[in-house]
């Protein structure tokens, strides 16, 4: 069951505008977003099944920060900064893999134990005695939620992941995501838009009938969005009883079958939970997945996602999962195009901003969350770049009027 205590009502009279256009191409704002938003908010790094054995590791880079998620000798999952304590080199250069017993820095050869402590510096006789803890890898704040590994690079205002995602708990726990296993690894792609244009597209289902023929064929008008409330949004689509006009959808509907561990109302549903500011965890009967976006520059972002599956599946379920991923892939491509069109408008001097439908209140609710973190988003015309951070700070300190 979903959480009915959330107030998801759309106000009768709301400001239908989006963020001011300048917010999509201001380098000074992007700096603030990276340090005050991305680094201070929980980020999905991977799933525990991506690091299945002692010594398995996965690297996760974001906004100039780099993490390594590692399974230590006691089989605990740990998160460290992927930064050598000698001169800061990337300690682990491979994206994913398994190390035997220790991490060796590729620069000068300092050696670290899997628990993060320093085993020893290279040419140890050239240093004074080094304390293995003081010179150990810096650990990163980390929390595992239903198998998903969250990290946070800087302290922030969000509560623990468990508390933050409590509204998702009841409904998603049925999926047994902690037992899920990887399908085809972590997928990343660079895309030529501001990160908010990606989120703006993803935060509403108003475009589904036009942009996503496969999704329309799958769940049609049953699709509905709930806005962000305390950092979490929710959308779902229930399969329509039609056979499906498109090959992938028709066969998906044919092959997908009730998963015994799921309650009946989730047998034919795709569910999406948005996690402020930049991620979604979605589930289908066959899979769980996350997707997220990170800014590289004002006009460039990284899309990152991974799909996990039930540990046991028969041929029919495997076929269904393959078809679901086809539908999903198609949808991603369509969305990428929409984000490009949307982002382009921000460069045009003639563009007057969004005028949002009630069906796009999710977009507004995300922007309102952003405004609460960085009040500078409320400034209608582009502020001076050099003074932007100071102006934002002064607005943060100003008492509410």
């Amino acid at each position: 069951m979903r959480d009915h205590t959330r107030n998801i009502e759309i106000p009768a009279d709301w400001d239908r505008r989006g963020l001011p256009g300048w917010c999509y191409h201001s380098p000074a704002l992007l700096d603030l977003e990276q340090s005050e938003l991305f680094k201070t908010h929980w980020q999905i790094a991977c799933h525990v099944s991506d690091v299945p054995e002692v010594g398995s590791f996965l690297c996760f880079d974001m906004c100039g920060e780099r993490a390594i998620i590692l399974r230590d000798n006691t089989s605990e999952v740990r998160a460290y900064l992927n930064i050598c304590r000698h001169r800061g080199s990337r300690l682990v250069a491979k994206e994913q893999g398994k190390c035997t017993n220790a991490l060796v820095c590729p620069f000068h050869g300092w050696v670290y134990n899997l628990d993060g402590t320093l085993r020893g510096a290279a040419r140890p006789e050239s240093f004074p005695q080094l304390d293995k803890h003081e010179f150990g890898l810096k650990s990163l704040e980390m929390e595992v939620w239903h198998g998903f590994v969250f990290v946070r690079f800087k302290p922030g205002l969000q509560p623990s992941v468990a508390e933050l995602l409590a509204p998702m708990e009841q409904e998603l726990s049925a999926y047994r995501m902690a037992e899920h296993v990887p399908t085809d690894g972590i997928w990343t792609e660079e895309t030529p838009v501001n990160w908010k244009s990606i989120r703006d597209v993803d935060n509403e289902g108003y475009h589904v009938p036009l942009a996503h023929p496969a999704l329309q064929d799958l769940y049609g008008s049953t699709y509905a969005d709930e806005p962000y409330v305390d950092g979490v949004s929710r959308s779902d689509g229930r399969f329509t009883p039609t056979k499906g006009r498109r090959w992938a959808v028709r066969n998906y509907k044919k092959f997908t079958k009730p998963q015994p561990h799921l309650p009946e109302h989730l047998h034919k549903t795709w569910l999406y939970y948005g996690i402020f500011p930049n991620a979604v965890i979605a589930v289908t009967p066959e899979t769980s997945l996350f997707y997220q976006e990170f800014p590289v520059s004002t006009g460039k972002s990284i899309l990152r996602s991974a799909t996990y599956r039930n540990p046991v599946e028969d041929r029919q379920q495997r076929a269904a999962r393959y078809l679901a991923s086809r539908i999903d892939r198609e949808t991603v491509e369509e969305d990428i195009q929409l984000t490009i069109w949307s982002n382009e408008s921000m460069q045009s001097e003639a563009f007057e901003g969004f005028y949002l439908s009630d069906l796009e209140y999710g977009v507004r609710s995300h922007h309102d969350h952003l405004r609460r973190i960085l009040p500078i988003y409320n400034v209608e015309t582009a502020p001076d770049e050099d003074g932007l951070a100071a102006l934002n700070a002064s607005m943060t300190d100003a008492p509410d009027t």
Partner: protein, 77 residues
């Protein structure tokens, strides 16, 4: 505990030449023995030099350079 860890590190120190990543595995194990005062800094440095060359046998290199390998040459037998 200490002994079983030493036993484990011994195996890693003797990781077969040529296996991918074995140079680095041997060096990391050598660091363990250095820290336990069981290996000289000179020999550790040979392991470091060989760490990126999986096919290189550090004991051979050490012998060639005239570094004392007494205990390690025998694989602790």
């Amino acid at each position: 505990m200490q002994n079983s860890e030493q036993e484990h590190q011994r195996k890693l120190l003797l990781a077969k030449d040529g296996e991918p990543g074995s140079g680095s595995t041997r060096y990391a194990a050598a660091m363990f023995f250095y820290q336990a005062n069981m290996m000289s800094a000179e020999l550790l440095e040979i392991y470091r030099r060989c760490s990126k060359f999986d096919a290189e046998d550090p004991i051979d290199v050490a012998k060639y350079e005239g570094i004392d390998v007494s205990e390690f040459a025998l694989g602790f037998i």
